[in-house]
């Protein structure tokens, strides 16, 4: 599955879309996915707050992610 990265998170992983094959077992909870990603890219853990969007909506840690969902990593926003 593909995960989208934006802003500083994109700089950390080096690209805006990262494809994950067998590294993630679905379905997975948002909180677990976040922990796995920080494990793989420790610098993500340094970001003051990291949200996850599930199909273009902010997700809570206990939501379940399936392989068809669109997942995005949302570092602190700074628009405006």
């Amino acid at each position: 599955m593909k995960i989208l990265f934006f802003g500083i998170a994109k700089d950390i992983v080096g690209k805006s879309i990262v494809e994950f094959q067998n590294e993630i077992l679905f379905p997975i909870k948002v909180g677990t996915l976040k922990a796995d990603l920080i494990n793989k890219y420790p610098a993500l853990g340094d970001i003051s707050s990291l949200a996850i969007a599930l199909n273009s909506r902010y997700a809570t840690d206990d939501m379940l992610v399936s392989q068809q969902d669109e997942i995005a990593i949302i570092p602190p926003v700074s628009g405006g």
């Binding site: 989208l4 934006f6 500083i8 909506r57 949302i74 602190p76 926003v77 628009g79």
Partner: protein
């Protein structure tokens, strides 16, 4: 639906009143944010904005609908740019129209404050010798 939401490459600063005007509206409050030439005493040359577009549009729609429910408004507009913007160029325009001015002022402030908190758009500041993604200081 009296809501106008857009991610654009350039803001038309004249669109605010043009869109918000309505027979029942006596008040129209518009906020336009632009690139300032400095941040914390450092000279800024330009800003770069990146958006998670599908989600940004959805979040702006939610914020506009929340404002419509909270205040008695005729219309709401929210436009935000993506791409590189120089000093003095507009980057965001939000506004609301209402029968009386109280509501449009409060709603307009809510729109920009909430946009800055929730809409997935990120800003990179270009200084003389460095560029950094902006981290909001809460």
């Amino acid at each position: 639906m009296n809501i106008n939401i857009k991610i654009v490459s350039e803001i038309d600063t004249a669109i605010g009143y043009r869109y918000l005007a309505h027979d029942e509206s006596g008040g129209h409050c518009i906020f336009i944010g632009s690139v300032r030439n400095s941040t914390q005493n450092e000279t800024v040359h330009e800003l770069f904005f990146e958006a998670y577009e599908s989600m940004a549009l959805l979040e702006m729609e939610k914020i506009a609908s929340e404002a419509m429910q909270k205040w008695n408004l005729q219309k709401v507009i929210m436009h935000h740019v993506v791409g590189t913007k120089k000093v003095k160029e507009p980057v965001v325009l939000v506004g609301a129209s209402s029968a009386h001015r109280e509501a449009c002022f409060e709603a307009c402030r809510f729109l920009i404050d909430t946009l800055k908190k929730r809409v997935p758009i990120w800003k990179k500041e270009f200084f003389e010798n460095k560029k950094v993604w902006v981290t909001p200081h809460p």
